[in-house]
Structure formats: C-alpha cells, structure tokens
C-alpha cells in the first residue's frame, strides 16, 4: 500500500508547575489525549495495533519542567496552524499548555534527534557561595551501577547566580546524563548526612581550592532543588 501523504506539525508545549512531576510517558499520554479531544485529523499507523502517528522530543525526567517541549504529529489534511493551536489550547490543562504549532518539512530531523543540547535552570532552596561540580556521577539503574564522566556531557560551565543554577547538557547517541542526577550529585557533596560529622566533604576539598567560601544554608536545612526547568533545546 502506498504511504499516504501527511502533513508534519511540530507542537511546542510547556510542562510546568506541579505537572513537572509527570513522567515522560504520562506527558505523552496526556498530549495524545489532548490531540484526540481537539479532533485534529491525526494519522493512524497501519498494522497489528493501530495508534496515532506522534513522536515526542527528548524526554524530561520526573520533577523537571520544560518551557519549549516538542512533539511531532502527522496530520492527514492541512489545518491552519493557528486553528490547530486554538483547538489544542482549549483541550489542554494550564500546566501542560500547548504554545505553538508549525509545519515542518517531511524529511526534517525528528524532535528527539534535532536538538541534542539542553539548557536547564534549577532554583535552589538557598544561595550557596559555590557549588562544586563532581567529576563523575554514579547512576544505579536496574541494580547496575554506571559511572558517567560529567565532562562528556556538560557543555561549558555551570553558572551559579544566587540561588539559580544554569547549565547545558549534551545528549549523546550512546546515552545522556540526567540533569536531576547531576544536580543531586552536586548537592550530595554539599549536604552531609545527619549521622556524619559536619565537615567539608572530601570530594569537595579535592576539586576546589576555595572551600572556606561555602556558607551553610539557613536553619541547618540541607540544600535542595526547589524546581528544575529545561529552558532551551538547540542543535549543535
């Protein structure tokens, strides 16, 4: 059967507020349902279990929001982008709101591959004087430990401005470093478990010359991440 001509629409949406706590699958399901509710003429795959032809951009971890998240949808007929946008916005919840609809070339790279560079901004519970970056991050996944070199993924410096931290990670074909894992590793160096004596952690001393400048966060509360958002995705 000849492949039907379709129109490829790239939908940009925001994942914010408490809905930053949704998983990638949960977001995907919610967007797909919004597309159905909006009655857009979406294409359906042929075969054993037919489903909507929709492809999501790079996944965000649970707890991380995004201002410009992307999804590519194939439509069976042309719908004016502003019409599609209105219909989708009407069927979206405020914290998972569609912001833009544009058509892209049929052969344009997929949203998941076109933008390997992601910039994140985290808001911390206090403003530390410094936040050392560990050389390695240990990831435990399915009971296997993996060690990732931060330098392989981190593009440029981590920029600390008051309680706000901005950094860019590159997604590699072989894998990626999750921003929440990187930040957790950063904070682990600063926060000492209750049962250990309050002294400057070893990793921190090795990596940095200006250890004395760290101020303990207020009220002896451990430093934590209040929110994290992907603020940009771009090509290399």
């Amino acid at each position: 059967m000849a492949e039907q001509q379709t129109f490829r629409m790239r939908i940009t949406f925001a994942k914010q507020g408490r809905l930053a706590l949704l998983s990638h699958l949960e977001v995907a399901r919610a967007i797909e349902r919004a597309v159905r509710r909006a009655q857009l003429p979406f294409a359906v795959s042929q075969g054993f279990s037919p489903h909507m032809k929709i492809a999501f951009g790079a996944a965000l971890p649970v707890g991380v929001g995004g201002t410009h998240e992307m999804v590519d949808l194939q439509l069976l007929r042309y719908v004016r982008p502003e019409e599609a946008l209105l219909a989708l916005q009407k069927e979206s919840v405020p914290d998972l709101m569609v912001k833009e609809c544009v058509y892209i070339e049929p052969k344009a790279p997929a949203a998941s591959a076109a933008f390997p560079l992601s910039t994140y901004r985290a808001l911390l519970s206090a403003a530390p004087a410094q936040l050392p970056v560990p050389e390695q991050v240990h990831i435990i996944r399915k009971k296997k430990e993996k060690v990732l070199d931060v330098a392989d993924f981190l593009v440029g410096e981590m920029l600390l401005e008051g309680a706000s931290l901005t950094f860019t990670l590159e997604q590699k074909p072989t894998g990626s470093l999750r921003p929440d894992k990187l930040l957790a590793a950063c904070l682990d160096q600063v926060n000492v478990p209750d049962d250990q004596e309050q002294e400057v952690p070893l990793a921190f001393l090795v990596d940095n010359a200006w250890t004395q400048s760290i101020e303990p966060p207020a009220d002896d509360q451990p430093l934590r991440v209040l929110s994290m958002t992907r603020i940009d995705q771009r090509a290399k």
Partner: protein
C-alpha cells in the same frame, strides 16, 4: 480549607509515581464557593480507585447539587502513608489538597472484603476518630456504601451511616438532609436519627447487637435502641438507570490506572442466578440502556476524554439484547481511528466468541472463559448453566477464529464438591485443549496456550450459598495439588490464589459485628493493603484473632441449615431470604433455575419488593443449551467469555485487581 500542597510538594520528590498525588487532571471539578463539602474516598491507591465507576458516578451526582462540592481522595501507597505520618501530614483530597477531616462528610466505597484495614488506615491518616461513637459535633460524617455494605456489620463501628444499594439518588438525599438539619441547628445524634429513618440508610449505632441465641429467636441480630427505627433496610435502586445517558463527565488521569479507558455501563444487574455470586443477587433487576444511548455515549465520551479505548461494562455485556447491533455500529463509527473496543462479558458460547471477534480486530490476545466447575453435576449445583458442549463450541469458535490463548477460571471448594469434581476440572480442560488443537492448523499448534486459574470459593452474604462454610485453607491446598497431579498435559498451566487471603475474605463476608474488633486489631498489628500480595500480613490477622478472642475459622467455615438467621438478615437486596433458601435446596437436589430475562420469572422477590421490573431494550433470545425449543438449532450458550484485558479489571475481585497486570 487548608491547602496542604506546600507541605506535600517537598515530599513528592522522593515519592514513587508522584502523578497520583497531583490534582489538575483534565476534567476535575473545582467549586471553591460551595458551602457543603463532600469527599469521596476509595480505600486503596489512586491507580485502583480512579478507575472505579462508583467514585465517578457519585462525585458527579454530588457536584450536580447546588452549593455542594465533591472531591476525591485515595489512600497513598503504603510507603508514602508512612512518610506522611512521619511528617505529620494528614490524608488530603485530590482537587483542593485539603485535609479530608475538614470536609462535612466522607463517602467510602467498600468494593471488596479486603479493604477493611485500609478504611482504618485512611481514617487514622486523616485524623478522624476510628469509632463513630468517638466522633463529636465538629467531626465529619463517615458514610459507607458499595457491595460490602450488604453485610455492613464487620465495618459497623467505624461508620456513621451506610447507604445500602445504588447511590445515584440516595447519596445526594443523605447529604442534603445533613446540610438542612445542620442549618436548623440539629445536633449530630439527631441528624443520625433522621437519616436512619430515610429509605435505604442504616445507622448501626442506633441498633444493639444481639447474641446468637437471641438473634435466632428474634429472627434478627439487631435491636433498635428507640421507637420508630426500621428493622429491615432495603436497598435503593436508581430507577432512571436505563433512560439515563451512558456518558457522563469523567476525569482523565495522568498516571496509568488499572482500567485506563472510557467506561460505558451498558446494563446493570444479571439474572443468570449463579448461586455463589453476590453481584448476581445484589444488582437486580436487570436494566439495559438502549443501543442508541450506548452508541451516542461512546461517541460523546471518546470525543470529550480523548481516550483511545472504550469498555462496555456490566456484569454480562454480551447478554445485552442489542449487543451485536451496538458493536457493529461502533466498529463502523471508529474504523481507522485507532480506537479499541473491549467487552467484558459473562457468556461462554460461540455467540460470545463472535462478539469478542467483532471488536478484536487483527490483534487477538487471549480469551477467558469461566466454567467455574469441572463436572456437569457441580455446575448444576451452582446453577452455572453451561454444558461441556457450550465450552467446546466456544473453544472451537475461538481457536478457529484465530485466538491462540485461553484462560479457564474455576472455583475450588464449592458446596458438595468431591475429589471427582476436581479431577473433572483436569479432564474438562484437557479435552478443551484437544478441541483447540483440532481447530488450529498443524503448523500453529505449538502456539496454543491454555491455563487454568482457580480461586477458593468464598461464601458471600446475600447468596444461596451464604449458609455454606468455606473449606479450610489446608484442604484447599490439598485439592489444588490433586488438580495439579490430575492435569497430565504439560502445555496446560495451573494457577491458584493464595487461600489465606480467601479465608480473610470469607470471615469478612460472613462475620457479624464482632468481626469489627478483629479488623481493628489486625490493622493495629500492621495489616493493610490486604488485597496486595506483597502487603498481605497473615500473622497480623492471626495475632488479632488471639487478641480479641474471635475464632475466624468458625466464622468462615461453619455450615448452617437454611433456617439459621445470618448476621445480615436486616439488610435486603430485594431478593428474599426464602428464595435464597429455596435455591440452596435446589442446589442440593442438583436442579437449575433459569435466567428470568430469557425465561419465566423465578420469583426471587426483587421486582415486587423494589417496585421495578426488568427493563430490556428488546426481548432477549437464549442460545445453545439454554435455548427454548424453537431455537434449539443454535450453537452454545451461557457461561463466560471475557476479552482478556477486561478480566484484569473485573469489579470486586480484590486480589486480581491489585496483582494482575499482564
């Protein structure tokens, strides 16, 4: 209302699947201005509760009342319950993230026998006094309902009010009465006295519990503490069901729930009359929504929710008189839209398979049949009107049409069961396997999968088998191992449910008010989430029995004569105790009783008692072994065909709902 979100949010970073604690789902109703606030709680996690249809229906009917709001609440996952306790965070509602204790009333649906300890876990987490008698003027009203309220006694001390039967009209009436009486300045006790006099409500604190001897003499276990209280509480029926639209607003969850699809209830009630089945007695009479209503409801529901799957729910959807028409029309409507239609059904015959085939498309997973018993003798005893030929006809049709997997459900420990009946299961399944092989091309025979799943018979209140004791768990295991030895084909898998949970179910199903102390003690010993295999704590229930001096084995396992007055005699489904006793006698004589929606009235008492008749969209025509003479040529009839995914979410089957997720 207090907003707990600022305190909840920091805890969610480490919670598993935090999406179940958020609000903001599509379709949520917010009515911050409402003066009267009701919270509908499902005593298990969001994934199970959000799929519950009672919750959806009751939230909608209360929200439809001016000045009233209904929010939802669920029990957090076990570990998160502990986190919340450690942080001093009380149980919260989903919509407003408000403490449940700040509402005016809470409704708790008792969907199966293993939720009892979760009710206590929820009340405790909410900071609501566990016992109705300890609640004061400022405390909310705790209202129970659902299947287990047909024997409310094991839960009685924890509830202020039980709503017996269907709640579409009853619940708003009850809440409006509370609101009106409060406004008039009535005290809590007076409000309860007034509600106890309304149709379909039971206020257990207004009845003294008799001892066994008194109860048998008086013909009832309860004695009103004052004049003018009803001594016989009959269930409420939503008379407008058949005409009411099958579509009503529903919330679309973010996180995946057990039945993550649109549910359209196509009919209510089932009159097949299986003698072990509580649902079959509880939801009479049978009421069908019309084909037009159903098709419109599906179209409208899918458009408004964005779901890509719809389930036509009921106790026996393929019994609907217009089911073929409905499925054909839906197939046409959704051609090429990537929409799946599933039909949970209770019908085992080639018609059932045809219906499953209509909606299966190219993807044929597995089919589930429930013959329930292995020999014709025992199937006659339980009134499961299915013959071997019905089963074989269904197997021929299913495997001939392309299905390659089939699951067969049986019960172990049914009244009068002998070892021959157990061996009969093995024989029946092996012969069904042989039939399946014949129906499949030689080169595909390796793909045939057949499995047997057995559950221990639980004597249910309000059924003809309510007087029959359950067999002991050790005996159940002996019969299971006899079955395993008797199944000679290695291609047939045998699965069984843990009899120790079925034992707790039987005690909860048959217990009187004394069982409540046992539940409370078990909860204090750490029992909760009993329907979850990984949480079921048998030792806690044992320790509790010792502590409160209850003999649970006697409650579960004693068989009585049909003259014995059971602890739920004062609660009525409309079906008369006389009919139940008569059915029990016919069971002993191995005589069957036909389904009154196909044949003559069986005089169960429900229609005259409740003042409403069966409402069918058009006359039903039976086939197969149940056919009337003029239809004798047709193939197959009565029993159970269930499209496989539907089985996972069958209502009121506790353990299965929690565990299975294939």
């Amino acid at each position: 209302m207090t907003d707990l979100w600022p305190r909840l949010e920091p805890l969610l970073a480490s919670a598993e699947r935090p999406a179940r604690y958020l609000n903001h789902e599509f379709g949520c109703v917010y009515k911050p201005e409402a003066g009267f606030r009701f919270c509908m709680m499902y005593p298990d996690t969001y994934e199970l509760g959000q799929a519950n249809q009672a919750l959806r229906i009751l939230v909608n009917v209360v929200n439809a009342v001016d000045g009233m709001v209904a929010e939802r609440a669920f029990l957090p996952a076990a570990e998160f319950c502990d986190t919340m306790r450690a942080e001093g965070l009380p149980l919260f509602s989903i919509e407003s993230c408000a403490p449940v204790a700040e509402f005016d009333a809470i409704g708790i649906t008792l969907s199966h026998e293993l939720v009892a300890t979760n009710v206590l876990e929820a009340l405790d987490l909410a900071g609501i006094p566990l016992h109705a008698q300890d609640r004061g003027e400022d405390d909310l009203f705790v209202i129970g309902g659902g299947p287990c309220s047909f024997n409310p006694e094991p839960y009685a001390p924890f509830f202020d009010i039980f709503n017996i039967g269907e709640g579409e009209e009853a619940l708003p009436e009850c809440l409006q009465a509370i609101r009106r009486l409060r406004a008039e300045g009535a005290c809590r006790a007076d409000i309860l006295r007034a509600i106890a006099r309304m149709d379909g409500f039971y206020v257990p604190s207004l009845y003294r519990w008799r001892d066994e001897e008194q109860a048998q003499q008086a013909g009832s276990w309860i004695e009103p503490v004052e004049e003018g209280l009803p001594t016989h509480i009959q269930k409420r029926v939503f008379e407008g069901f058949a005409e009411s639209p099958g579509w009503e607003p529903c919330i679309v969850p973010f996180t995946e729930v057990v039945q993550d699809r649109l549910n359209v209830e196509v009919l209510r009630g089932c009159a097949r009359g299986c003698r072990f089945c509580q649902a079959g007695m509880m939801y009479r009479p049978v009421r069908e929504r019309s084909a037009d209503n159903i098709v419109n409801s599906v179209v409208c529901g899918l458009a408004q929710t964005g779901y890509d799957e719809v389930s036509l729910t009921s106790l026996s959807s393929t019994d609907h008189s217009q089911i073929a028409d409905v499925l054909t029309r839906l197939n046409e409507q959704f051609q090429g839209k990537g929409v799946r239609i599933s039909v949970p059904s209770q019908r085992l015959d080639s018609f059932g398979v045809d219906m499953a085939g209509l909606v299966a498309g190219q993807k044929k997973g597995g089919l589930t049949f429930a013959p329930e018993a292995g020999t014709q003798r025992l199937r006659d005893v339980i009134n499961k009107q299915v013959t071997e030929d019905d089963l074989f006809g269904a197997v021929d049709a299913a495997f001939g049409a392309g299905w390659r997997r089939c699951k067969l459900y049986f019960m172990i420990g049914l009244p009068t069961e002998t070892d021959d009946d157990i061996k009969g299961i093995a024989s029946l399944v092996q012969r069904a396997y042989d039939r399946a092989k014949k129906a499949v091309p030689v080169e595909q025979r390796g793909n045939i999968r057949m499995s047997v799943s057995c559950a221990l018979f639980v004597p249910k209140a309000q059924t003809p088998f309510q007087w029959d004791g359950q067999i002991a768990p050790e005996e159940a295991l002996r019969r299971v191992s006899l079955l395993r030895r008797s199944v000679k084909y290695r291609a047939i898998d045998v699965h069984w449910h843990d009899p120790s949970t079925s034992f707790v179910e039987a005690v909860m199903s048959r217990g009187g008010r004394a069982a409540a102390a046992w539940v409370e003690s078990a909860w204090r010993h750490g029992a909760r989430f009993d329907a979850w295999t990984e949480h079921f704590n048998e030792q806690a229930w044992r320790d509790a029995a010792e502590e409160v001096g209850l003999d649970p084995a006697a409650v579960a396992q004693t068989s009585y004569d049909t003259g014995y007055v059971m602890p739920w005699e004062h609660i009525s489904t409309g079906v008369s105790t006389r009919f139940l006793a008569h059915e029990r006698k016919k069971a002993a004589a191995e005589k069957t009783t036909p389904d009154c929606t196909f044949e003559r009235c069986a005089a169960c008492g429900a229609c005259p008692g409740l003042g409403i008749d069966n409402q069918l969209a058009q006359p039903r025509i039976a086939g197969g072994s149940n056919a009337r003479p003029q239809q004798a040529g047709e193939e197959g009839a009565a029993a159970a065909v269930v499209a496989e995914q539907a089985v996972n979410g069958q209502p009121a089957t506790g353990p299965q709902t929690a565990e299975e997720g294939e």
